[in-house]
C-alpha cells in the first residue's frame, strides 16, 4: 500500500447514485418491462402445517389471459431439489421444494404458480384454484417442537432439532460454581423481520434462440444465485446471467435463494417468454426470511473484584420451517454461541445451541446475525453484574475488555480478533455523553420522579471474512473472495466492475473513491458497475459487512496493477524512468520536476494505439482483474450509549439521546459510514421497542401487514450522534474493516440496559425484547404491587 496517498478515501463525497434515485430514474426490478412480459402470482397456504389433499388448477388454467399454472409436482420435474448442506457435524440436511409437493410447513408457503397477462388477472386465477388441506398438528413453539417426536416438520430429519453445536474452553462449570459472583438470566429476543421498503421480486427471461437465461432480481447475491441456478436448472453456467440493478434494501433478507426465483426461471424456460413476479407486502411478511427468535439461558461468573471468570449459555433458536440455501439454518444459532463472550476476556466458556424447526417462515441472515442477541445477553449480564457488585457499568467493562496487549486475541470459539480500540471507543463515548454530568442529572430528575436510564453496549464483530472462515459455519460455498475488473478506455475513462451488489450502501461512490485513489485519477474518471454476473468477475454479493474489505481490497490491488502498467507506458512516452513517475489526479507527474506532466488519457490512448507506442514486449491494452481473499478477516467494534425516559403513565420508552463511537478501520466515505451506523441503530431501536413478528398457536401470522408490524417512523427516532475512531486493520489491503451491521448489534442491548437502569428502583431488569409499552406496563405493575401506585 506504499503509494496510496489518500485524497478521496476519507472524503465526504456526495453519492453518485443520488442523481438517478432523486429524480425517479432508478431501475428497480419492477421497473423492467421487456416486451411479451407475463406476470406470476403464487397460491399460498393458509395452513401452517397440512397435507395437500387435493389441488385442482384446471379452472384457473381455463381463464382468459392465463398462460400457465404449475404445481409442486410440475416444478419437481423441471428443477433439481434444493438442499442446503453443511459440514456442521450435528446438522440434519433437508429439502426446500420450490412449490410445496406433499405438505405445507408454514402459512404462506407457495403451492402453485399462475402465469397470466397481468398481475390482476393472475390473482383472479388464484381464486379459481381448488385446494383442500388435511391439517396436521402445528408446532409453533420451539420448546414444544424440540420435545415432539411425533409432530415433525421434516419427517426425513427424524427430529425437529435440525442442528446442535457447542463451543467450549476451559472448565466452565467449576469456574462458575466456585465464583464469588454469579448472575443468571433467561433472555428472550422475539422474532424479527427485515421489512425492506422494496418487496422482493424478479424478472426471469429465457431466450429459446440462444439458450440463455437472464434473471433480474432484487437480490444481494447475484453471483451466488447464478452458481446455484445453473446447477439446479441443469444449464451451462455461461448461459446464466443474474442481475441486480437498483435494489431497495436487503439487510440479509435478500441474500438467499428464494423459491420464487427458482420457480420463475423454470417457468420462463418452459414458456420461452419473460415472466415477472413482485412480492406484495403481505407475501413479504409471510415469506421473506425472518430473524433471531431465540431463548438464551446464560450465566456469567466474576471474581469479587469484578474480573470475569466464566460464561455459559444454552441457546434455543427457532429457525422456522426450512433450512435455507446457502446459509443453512445454522447461520443464526451458531453465530450466537460463536460470539457470546463479546469484547471481553472470558477464560472459561461453554455455549451450546440448538436450531429447532417450527411451522413458521424460515429464518435467515439479517443485519447483525446472532450478534444482536449476543450483545443483548452479554451486555445485559455485565450490567447485572455491575449492579450486584455496586460497580459503575463503564468501569466494569473497561476492566474486562480484551486489552491492547492481548491482540491478536483468540476467542473460545476459535475466532481471532486482529485488533480493536475498545478502551478508546468507550472513553470517547464517556466524554461525548459527559457521563459524570449525565449521571448527576439523572439522580436529580429521578428524585423528581422521572424514570431516566443510561445504557451502554460494546460489541466487536467479525467482518470482511476471507475463505478461512465461512460466513455460515460448514456451508458449502466460499464467500471469502471478491474481485475487481478495471478497464480503461482509450479516452482515459475507467469502468470498474465488481460482483458485489449494493442495496443502498453507496458502493458506486465508495468504490470509485478507492479505485481513483489506487490508480491516481479523479473521481469522475471512474464509473463503477455492480451486480451483473455477465460483466463482473466471479464473486457472491453484498452481505456480512464484507464489501469494503473484499471489493475495496480487490479495487486497490487492481488499481495499483493498472497504475504500474500506466507508469511504464508513460515512462516510455516521456522517456523517463517509471520509478521517477507518479499518477496523481489524472496526471502523470515527474517527481521533483513539477513542470513536467502528461494527462492520463494520453497514456490510455497509447495503450490502445498499437505496439509502436508501447515499451518493447508490452502487451497492448489497459485493463486488469484482481481477486482478493483476506483469508481470515478482521474486526470492527463500537460502543453505544442510550439515554432513555420511561413515561410513568403510558410506560412508553422515549430515547432522549443516542451516541455511537465506532471503529471500522480506515473510512472510505464518512457520509456513507455514518448513514450505515444511523440506519442500523434505527433498526436496532425498532427491534428493541416496536418490532415483533407474532404467530399464534396455530402458526397463523398475526403481524401480516405494516399496520401490525411496527417499523419506526421519523417521529419515533432521534438524531444519532456518531463519532469515529480509525484503527486501520493490519489484516486487510486498504486497512478497511467493514461495517454496516453494528447498529443492530449495539442498539437493542444499549436500550435494554438503559430501560433496566431507569427502572432499577423497581428492581426490573429487562430480559425480553421488544420492550413494548404493553409489556413494560405488566412488568411495572407486577413490580409495584404493594408499592406506590403509578
Amino acid at each position: 500500500m506504499s503509494e496510496l496517498t489518500p485524497k478521496l478515501i476519507g472524503a465526504r463525497v456526495q453519492r453518485r447514485e443520488d442523481q438517478r434515485l432523486l429524480t425517479g430514474q432508478g431501475t428497480y426490478v419492477d421497473d423492467h418491462h421487456p416486451s411479451g412480459l407475463l406476470h406470476a402470482a403464487f397460491l399460498r397456504s393458509s395452513y401452517a402445517h397440512a397435507r395437500i389433499a387435493h389441488l385442482d388448477v384446471a379452472p384457473a388454467r381455463a381463464l382468459t389471459g392465463v398462460v400457465a399454472v404449475l404445481t409442486g409436482t410440475d416444478l419437481a420435474s423441471l428443477v433439481k431439489p434444493v438442499r442446503a448442506g453443511s459440514k456442521t457435524r450435528d446438522y440434519k440436511e433437508t429439502s426446500i421444494p420450490p412449490l410445496a409437493v406433499d405438505k405445507v410447513r408454514y402459512v404462506g408457503e407457495a403451492v402453485a404458480v399462475v402465469v397470466a397477462e397481468s398481475r390482476y388477472l393472475a390473482e383472479d386465477a388464484l381464486e379459481q384454484i381448488s385446494v383442500d388441506y388435511d391439517p396436521l398438528l402445528v408446532v409453533a413453539d420451539a420448546e414444544e417442537a424440540r420435545r415432539s417426536d411425533t409432530t415433525l416438520v421434516h419427517d426425513e430429519a427424524g427430529s425437529n432439532v435440525l442442528l446442535s453445536r457447542q463451543f467450549a474452553q476451559g472448565e466452565v462449570d467449576t469456574a462458575i460454581e466456585t465464583a464469588a459472583v454469579r448472575v443468571r438470566e433467561r433472555f428472550r429476543f422475539h422474532r424479527h423481520a427485515a421489512v425492506c421498503m422494496e418487496n422482493r421480486g424478479c424478472v426471469a427471461e429465457y431466450q429459446t434462440g440462444t439458450g440463455f437465461l437472464t434473471l433480474r432480481s432484487a437480490t444481494q447475491c447475484p453471483g451466488l444465485l447464478r452458481d446455484v441456478l445453473a446447477d439446479l436448472l441443469d444449464l451451462p453456467e455461461h448461459c446464466v446471467r443474474v442481475v441486480a440493478n437498483d435494489v431497495g434494501g436487503g439487510f440479509g433478507a435478500k441474500s438467499s435463494l428464494y423459491q420464487e426465483e427458482l420457480t420463475l426461471c423454470a417457468v420462463t424456460r418452459l414458456l420461452g417468454r419473460p415472466v415477472k413476479w413482485i412480492s406484495d407486502r403481505r407475501e413479504d411478511h409471510m415469506t421473506s426470511t425472518q430473524a433471531w427468535d431465540e431463548v438464551v439461558e446464560a450465566e456469567l461468573a466474576l471474581r469479587a473484584d469484578g474480573t470475569i471468570v466464566g460464561l455459559r449459555a444454552e441457546v434455543t433458536s427457532d429457525i422456522g420451517a426450512y433450512s435455507i440455501y446457502p446459509w443453512t439454518a445454522t447461520v443464526e444459532p451458531v453465530q450466537v454461541i460463536s460470539f457470546l463472550p463479546g469484547a471481553y476476556r472470558v477464560p472459561h466458556y461453554r455455549g451450546r445451541t440448538q436450531g429447532v424447526a417450527t411451522c413458521k417462515a424460515p429464518t435467515g441472515p439479517y443485519r447483525g446475525v446472532g450478534r444482536p442477541i449476543t450483545s443483548f445477553v452479554m451486555e445485559g449480564l455485565m450490567d447485572r453484574a455491575a449492579r450486584r457488585l455496586g460497580k459503575d457499568p463503564v468501569e466494569l467493562r473497561l476492566q474486562n475488555y480484551i486489552r491492547p496487549e492481548d491482540f491478536p486475541y483468540k476467542t473460545p470459539s476459535g475466532i481471532v480478533w486482529d485488533e480493536a480500540s475498545l478502551i478508546e471507543c468507550m472513553e470517547k463515548v464517556r466524554a461525548a455523553l459527559d457521563y459524570e454530568e449525565t449521571r448527576r442529572w439523572q439522580r436529580q430528575v429521578q428524585a423528581e420522579g422521572r424514570w431516566i436510564g443510561i445504557g451502554f453496549a460494546t460489541y466487536i464483530e467479525l467482518t470482511g471474512i476471507g475463505s478461512a472462515i465461512p460466513v455460515s459455519p460448514g456451508m458449502p460455498i466460499s464467500t471469502g473472495t471478491e474481485a475487481a475488473f478495471l478497464r480503461v478506455d482509450p479516452s482515459g475513462t475507467i469502468t470498474a466492475t465488481f460482483s458485489v451488489a449494493p442495496q443502498g450502501q453507496g458502493h458506486e461512490t465508495a468504490l470509485a473513491q478507492v479505485v481513483a485513489d489506487a490508480l491516481g485519477v479523479t473521481f469522475d474518471a471512474v464509473r463503477v458497475v455492480c451486480g451483473d454476473t455477465a460483466v463482473a468477475p466471479h464473486g457472491t454479493g453484498t452481505y456480512a459487512s464484507r464489501s469494503a474489505v473484499l471489493a475495496g481490497g480487490a479495487a486497490i490491488l487492481a488499481g495499483q496493477a493498472l497504475r504500474d502498467k500506466a507508469l511504464r507506458i508513460a515512462g516510455h512516452l516521456m522517456e523517463t524512468n517509471p520509478a521517477d513517475l507518479a499518477l496523481q489526479g489524472g496526471y502523470v507527474v515527474v517527481r521533483d520536476k513539477p513542470g513536467r506532466s502528461m494527462p492520463f488519457r494520453e497514456v490510455a490512448k497509447a495503450a490502445y494505439g498499437g505496439l509502436r507506442r508501447l515499451p518493447k514486449d508490452m502487451e497492448p491494452g489497459l485493463e486488469v482483474t484482481r481477486f482478493y481473499d483476506p483469508y481470515y478477516g478482521t474486526a470492527s467494534s463500537a460502543t453505544h450509549v442510550a439515554v432513555v425516559e420511561v413515561d410513568r403513565e403510558t410506560c412508553a420508552v422515549k430515547v432522549l439521546r443516542y451516541i455511537v463511537v465506532e471503529d471500522c478501520g480506515r473510512v472510505i466515505n464518512p457520509l456513507i459510514v455514518e448513514g450505515q451506523v444511523r440506519g442500523g441503530v434505527a433498526q436496532g431501536i425498532g427491534a428493541a421497542l416496536y418490532e415483533e413478528v407474532v404467530y399464534d398457536e396455530n402458526g397463523q401470522l398475526l403481524t401480516g401487514s405494516l399496520m401490525d408490524y411496527l417499523v419506526p417512523t421519523a417521529a419515533e427516532l432521534l438524531p444519532i450522534e456518531v463519532h469515529h475512531v480509525e484503527t486501520p486493520s493490519p489484516s486487510t489491503v486498504g486497512g478497511f474493516r467493514g461495517m454496516g451491521e453494528g447498529g443492530t448489534i449495539g442498539a437493542p442491548a444499549a436500550l435494554a440496559n438503559a430501560v433496566s437502569d431507569a427502572l432499577s428502583p423497581l428492581g426490573i431488569e429487562i430480559n425480553e425484547l421488544p420492550i413494548t409499552p404493553n409489556r413494560l406496563f405488566r412488568l411495572i405493575r407486577e413490580a409495584s404491587k404493594g408499592k406506590e401506585k403509578i
Partner: protein, 160 residues
C-alpha cells in the same frame, strides 16, 4: 366486468391519457401505462408512503386511488419535481445531507416533504418528524432526511 374507461389527466405538466379497467390502481397506471416508474409500490395498504404523489397539488397515496379517479386531475410525481433550472431544493438537500440510501422510499419522501413545506413553510424539527412519519424509510434512520428538509425549508424561504 371487462369494462375499460378512457381517462385523461395532466401529469407533470403534460396531458396524458389511457384506457384502464376501473379496478386498476393509480400507482399501477402511472408505472405501467405512463412509464413513470419513479413512484414506487411498497405496501398497497396506505402505510409505507412510497407511492405518494401530488393530486391537485396535495400529497396523496396513489396505491389507495383508482386510476379512473384521476380522470381530469392534475398530478405531479417525482419525475416532475425538478424544474427547468435544475433539481428542486429538496432534491439537492437530500443529496447533500445523505437523505437516501437505497432510494426506494425517496420519491414518496420527497413528495410528502414537498406538501409538508407547502402547508408549513417553517417547520420545527418536531413538526418535520411528525410530517415525515407518513413515509417509512428502513435505511437511513431519517437522520439525513430531517436535516435535508430543514435545509431545504431554509433555502426555499431565503429565495422568497
Amino acid at each position: 366486468m371487462k369494462e375499460q374507461r378512457h381517462i385523461r389527466l395532466i401529469i407533470n405538466g403534460e396531458t396524458r391519457s389511457g384506457q384502464v379497467e376501473p379496478r386498476k390502481l393509480l400507482v399501477d397506471f402511472l408505472r405501467e401505462d405512463l412509464g413513470l416508474t419513479g413512484t414506487h409500490v411498497g405496501c398497497e395498504h396506505g402505510i409505507c408512503g412510497a407511492c405518494t404523489i401530488l393530486v391537485n397539488g396535495e400529497a396523496a397515496r396513489s396505491c389507495l386511488m383508482l386510476a379512473v379517479q384521476a380522470d381530469g386531475a392534475e398530478l405531479r410525481t417525482v419525475e416532475g419535481l425538478a424544474g427547468k433550472d435544475g433539481l428542486h431544493p429538496l432534491q439537492n438537500a437530500f443529496r447533500e445531507h445523505h437523505g437516501l440510501q437505497c432510494g426506494f422510499c425517496t420519491p414518496g419522501m420527497l413528495m410528502t416533504a414537498y406538501d409538508l413545506l407547502q402547508a408549513n413553510p417553517t417547520p420545527t424539527e418536531e413538526e418535520i418528524r411528525a410530517g415525515l412519519s407518513a413515509v417509512l424509510c428502513r435505511c437511513t434512520g431519517y437522520h439525513g432526511i430531517v436535516q435535508a428538509v430543514q435545509a431545504a425549508a431554509e433555502r426555499i424561504q431565503a429565495t422568497k
